[in-house]
């Protein structure tokens, strides 16, 4: 079973991924929790949720996160895709999920997820990471906590410098 790095209560740790990431052409497994594409979720999500299945949704970088607004309370995971590390749309999606749409579940970074992005991701509200560069939780934690200060408010709880100074 693939592992993830999870951030919980300020601690980064390896965690087993209970969810099966279902590609659009693949059959949905019999019992396991699943992560579906947005289109597949819109077609089949209700039935699965109605049957008591845990469901997550995978959002491509060009899909609008607001589409999920009314489904969020039912979702366990939103997986935001980074097709390339330089495609930064998922940062906006994560921040909106946390700050505008009030999503409390797992926000997972998937795709071209590199250690150098850790700090940005955490500050935008991601709490789950599937690194593409083999980073360990310890390396991830070091990268994410590199800076003692932050200059602006994010979706995390860190106090920006102007509050530190006040």
């Amino acid at each position: 079973m693939p592992t993830l790095i999870r951030l919980q209560h300020g601690v980064y740790a390896a965690a087993e991924d209970r969810f099966v990431d279902v590609a659009d052409g693949d059959a949905i497994p019999a019992a396991a929790p699943v992560i579906l594409s947005l289109a597949r979720f819109q077609a089949e999500g209700d039935a699965l949720l109605g049957a008591g299945r845990e469901v997550g949704v995978r959002i491509a970088s060009d899909e609008e996160i607001e589409t999920l607004a009314y489904d969020l309370p039912r979702l366990a995971v939103v997986a935001l895709q980074f097709p390339k590390y330089g495609d930064g749309r998922a940062y906006s999606s994560a921040r909106l999920l946390r700050q505008r749409l009030g999503f409390k579940g797992e926000v997972r970074a998937v795709g071209d997820v590199l250690r150098m992005q850790a700090g940005f991701m955490v500050r935008c509200g991601f709490d789950s990471f599937a690194p593409a560069d083999g980073s360990t939780p310890e390396q991830w934690a070091n990268a994410a906590g590199r800076f003692r200060h932050v200059y602006q408010r994010g979706a995390d709880a860190r106090a920006p410098v102007f509050e530190e100074r006040a």
Binding site: G88, Y91, M116, F162
Partner: protein, 552 residues
């Protein structure tokens, strides 16, 4: 100068440590160049034709003597004894060794400097009016707002992987010395009829392959709402800017595709969802930033200086320098002094380590310890007493820094071109040098008056040719360099994009072509009319005729 506090310093120390660790990993072969590239680009380190190039941020072009001396030291120890001041008020070094880059960043951090966000698809180092705090024209000090933007944009969690780079310029004077209208965002601070401070927000200007003068999407944004409005613009851009083609990824393409009105609606809708209490800076922080700028101890002086008047009457060279390089200051008895980095034969924007030291010494002794870099690639001592001008002039002259050509035909902007840049199609620096030599006669240059020539070595337009009164673009035609001339551009408050005059000319023909343009201007201009105004009035016909007459 904005004075860093312990927090700002700890931030830079953390940044330096992070970079050093990554360079060590790269040199040890733990990461590949492909993996290292995004890391070095976040620290201003480019791999160029011959070596690494390091671009150091000079936030809003403002330096003190200690910092300029450190830049000189870096030039001397880690480069070939000089540095290159850029059109974004930064400095870059062209001959850097990777293994030494971490030491350079440490040396910079020790004087509160860095290379953060001088490259990459992020919010780049913010630029501002180089006369800030010195000109009587300004409504407020744009550096305060620039510093606010610098802090807000530094390692911004959401806006560090934009579709493309993002450049913001801030000015608070009617005369625009920042090229605000050809930036991703240009901010022009004004006072409203009700007395309140507000920004005109210009979005989607730019140069490059598709030049635009940016439209205005807010006429008078309340100054205190600046950060939330920037957040709204950046979010719309981050989500909707094109990412399929890097040449169509700048915000100007999005603004042009949607239309300014529709873009403004999207921004306003996003902005309406932001909570000012969370998205705007508290007034207390703005006040703290304002207070963190060193207060300047201006003396009360008469408007007339005997020392200045005597020297001006006695020394024609000083009188010429005073006419062209000395500008009015808001305090009586003081002046703004422009230091040209465009001596004949020089690479525009280059300064040697020794020259930087001279400027630093002058700033410390005679200039309230303040130095600016201009987007036209010159330096400024913004606060010099008229009484001290003769002494300052003599010292500049001895260092080869007293070229009296600010705003004149030889005050040319040029990109590094094929001599340094991996993207260039043609040389730019030698073209600038050949024009400067042709117009070395200072009487003639003054007779011609304000004429801005800008030269780019490829269509990326780093030399701003689109907004040159005369623009020169180097192109490669089957292995040969040709130069396309355009006329009528301006990057100032009367911004416009120049139009191509006709077929390209060879490098050797460029000075003759410029001479033909100038002679035509002198023949048809009316009164005090600038070159640009003459072109706008009479059109291209006489200029075209003059340049291409021989070809018929």
């Amino acid at each position: 100068m904005y004075r860093y506090d312990a927090i700002d310093r700890e931030f830079l120390a953390d940044r330096s440590a992070e970079f050093r660790e990554n360079v060590v990993r790269r040199l040890a072969g733990e990461i590949t160049e492909d993996q290292f590239k995004p890391l070095r680009l976040m620290n201003g380190l480019y791999l160029q034709l011959h070596a690494y190039m390091l671009r150091v941020a000079v936030p809003y072009g403002s330096l003190d003597s200690r910092q300029l001396r450190r830049l000189a030291h870096i030039a001397r120890v880690y480069d070939k004894g000089y540095g290159h001041f850029t059109t974004r008020q930064n400095i870059q070094y062209n001959w850097i060794r990777l293994g030494q880059a971490p030491d350079i960043l440490d040396a910079l951090a020790a004087v509160d400097m860095h290379a953060i966000q001088t490259s990459g698809n992020c919010i780049r180092n913010v630029t501002a009016d180089p006369y800030a705090g010195a000109t009587a024209e300004e409504i407020d000090d744009p550096r305060v707002w620039s510093e606010l933007i610098r802090q807000w944009s530094t390692l911004h969690p959401e806006f560090s992987f934009l579709p493309r780079k993002f450049k913001i310029a801030v000015t608070a004077a009617a005369k625009d010395r920042t090229a605000a209208k050809v930036h991703d965002i240009g901010l022009v601070l004004r006072r409203g009829r009700d007395g309140t401070l507000g920004f005109e927000v210009i979005v989607g200007g730019g140069q490059g392959r598709t030049p635009y003068v940016g439209p205005s999407i807010a006429e008078h944004l309340p100054a205190g709402r600046l950060l939330s409005y920037l957040e709204a613009i950046l979010r719309v851009y981050n989500r909707h800017g094109r990412r399929d083609n890097k040449y169509k990824a700048r915000i100007k393409v999005l603004v042009a595709a949607l239309g300014a009105e529709a873009f403004k609606r999207e921004v306003d809708e996003e902005w309406s969802k932001l909570d000012p209490a969370l998205a705007d800076a508290p007034d207390t922080e703005l006040a703290r930033i304002r207070g963190a700028f060193t207060p300047l101890a201006f003396e009360t002086l008469p408007a007339r200086s005997e020392a200045f008047e005597t020297a001006r009457a006695a020394d024609p060279a000083f009188a010429r320098f005073a006419r062209n390089n000395v500008k009015a200051h808001k305090k009586s008895g003081y002046a703004i002094v422009e230091i040209s980095l465009k001596a004949p034969g020089q690479t525009p924007g280059d300064a040697s380590a020794d020259q930087m030291d001279v400027v630093a010494d002058l700033a410390e002794r005679y200039g309230l310890d303040d130095i600016r870099v201009t987007h036209e690639q010159n330096l400024v001592l913004p606060h010099v007493k008229l009484d001290d001008l003769p002494t300052v002039f003599a010292a500049l002259q001895a260092a080869g820094l007293a070229t009296p050509n600010i705003g004149l035909i030889s005050d040319i902007i040029a990109c590094p071109g094929l001599d340094y840049c991996a993207l260039a199609n043609a040389r730019a620096i030698p073209i600038a040098q050949s024009i400067a030599r042709r117009f070395e006669d200072q009487d003639r240059a003054e007779l011609v008056g304000e004429l801005k020539i800008k030269i780019s070595g490829c269509i990326n337009a780093c030399g701003h040719h689109h907004v040159g009164n005369i623009g020169i673009l180097g192109v490669d035609k089957k292995g040969e360099e040709f130069y396309q001339l355009s006329l009528g551009g301006s990057g100032q408050e009367d911004a416009s994009i120049g139009k191509i005059l006709g077929p390209g000319v060879t490098a050797e023909q460029v000075p003759d072509a410029i001479e033909a343009l100038v002679d035509t201007y002198l023949a048809v201009r009316q009164g005090e009319e600038r070159f640009l105004d003459t072109v706008r009035r009479v059109g291209f016909a006489p200029f075209k005729e003059a340049v291409y007459a021989d070809a018929h």
